[in-house]
Amino acid sequence: MSINIIPQITRERILELAGKGRRIDGRSLTQFRPIKIERGLIKKADGSAMVSIGSTKVLVGIKIETGEPFPDTPDQGVLMVNAELVPLASPTFEPGPPNEDALELARVVDRGLRESKVLRFEDLCINPGKRVFVVFVDIYVLDYDGNLFDASALASIAALMDTKMKPYKVEGSEVVWIEGEPVPLSLQHYPVSVTMAKADGSLLVDPSLEEEQSADALITITMDEQNRLCAIQKGQGSFTPEEVFKSVQIAKEASSYLRERLKGG
């Protein structure tokens, strides 16, 4: 196992600049790195998107299959989010079952999608209690330079926007896929997440890996297009209540910027 080590001099520089409201790569405090969203890269998937934020790169593929509903929601389709920190993305990632970081990433993205009710889950029911559609969201981290949460959340929603469902008919309680034009999945909401790092009292939007590791604390806030909060996850460190309220304000602005990028392609 190896760990990310950043030079003390870089860390000190990041903190010193943050105290003056500046950043090591010249960005403003609320500025994202360049964002690129590409859709439909994987033809075998029902939907896919690759998002890069700076040199962080995440690929998300959507697969729709049928399965059993959860016992407590027999008339609703199922959303399954999984994240893989594949070893090609970082010298610190190792092969094997998902570790706590991968599980946390998947669960935070899942919460944003689920709580904002991005899909009408009732419409994904085939036969109540027996058969429903299962929407698999598989997050593949390809290059890790910080802020996996935002890149993954953005790629997931972009991939869902790209998703088309094959036409089907129901025979008995089973689904039979038939020939025909696939239909786009209808989305009800557009949740995106905004991660901020606290460094020397300043809040830095979209922290790079260096900034994440130098930061005193991290927080991720997911909001939908009506500025409702759908998920929050505090990472390392601690925040005063005032800092939390301030981060919500910043997230409001930043998430609307992300959503514009989502529409712009």
Partner: protein
């Protein structure tokens, strides 16, 4: 009319809380917390040698934390293998406690925290954080302050404090919070569900209010535990005793 909850509580009322310290013989520190129907037991071992050794850090102690639910703690039997949720919560609880600790004091060691949920009735991660902080204190590990934790949420369109199991399962939003007593900073913050900005502010302030009440209870428990034996000694020998 005042809104009454299913268990008769006011919207901003905590459930009854019981705390006990030093409940386990072999652990370096331990605590038991009952928060309504939720019952958790925490043991702390360390600072002790790290195995496997490559995990050790020359910069300070590492913290390993395991949040685990007993198979019999829930209505349906829970598979004892750690679930995805338990692994995430272990990380979140560790991050809730880390800001309170002086890890640089114990390089190349580990502090192991084991939190077992014996009975789950809503708010288990919060009860665990509260209990972990007490167990760390009981283990004699220096802390910047106690960490107290409780959740607020939205249930039937109202913002309420300290959700029980029924409210937790049917809630529109759940906001667990942990608070470090000395700095007043938030060390755990998660949100699951939909809240407007105003509702979020209200819920966070309510949860912090709950944390402060829990902190008073923690302090009282520590004081009672560490002064009680001394009192016994005084009554037996008629002299000042110390623990």
């Amino acid at each position: 009319m005042i809104y009454k909850r299913i268990d008769g509580r006011a919207p901003d009322e905590l459930r009854p809380i019981k705390m006990a310290l030093g409940v386990l013989d072999k652990a370096d520190g331990s605590a038991y917390v009952e928060h309504g129907g939720t019952k958790v037991l925490v043991a702390v071992y360390g600072p002790r040698e790290v195995h496997p050794r490559h995990l050790a850090s020359p910069e300070g102690a590492i913290i390993r934390c395991r949040y685990h639910m007993a198979p019999f703690s829930t209505q349906e039997r829970k598979n004892p293998a750690p679930s995805r949720r338990e692994i995430e919560l272990s990380k979140v609880i560790r991050q809730a406690l880390t800001p309170a600790m002086f890890l640089e004091l114990y390089p190349r060691t580990t502090i192991d925290i084991f939190a077992e949920v014996l009975q789950a009735d809503g708010g288990t991660r919060c009860a665990c954080v509260t209990a972990c902080s007490l167990a760390l204190a009981d283990a004699g590990i220096p802390l910047k302050g106690l960490v107290a934790s409780c959740a607020a949420g939205k249930y039937q369109d109202r913002i309420i404090l300290d959700l029980n199991d029924v409210e937790d399962k049917g809630c529109q939003a759940d906001l667990p919070v942990a608070w470090l007593s000395t700095t007043g900073e938030i060390t755990l913050l998660q949100l699951n569900g939909l809240l407007t900005e105003e509702e979020f502010q209200e819920a966070l302030n309510l949860a912090l209010k709950g944390c402060r009440q829990i902190y008073e209870k923690q302090k009282e428990t520590l004081m009672n535990y560490y002064t009680a034996p001394a009192k016994e000694l005084v009554s037996e020998t008629g002299q000042e005793g110390s623990k």
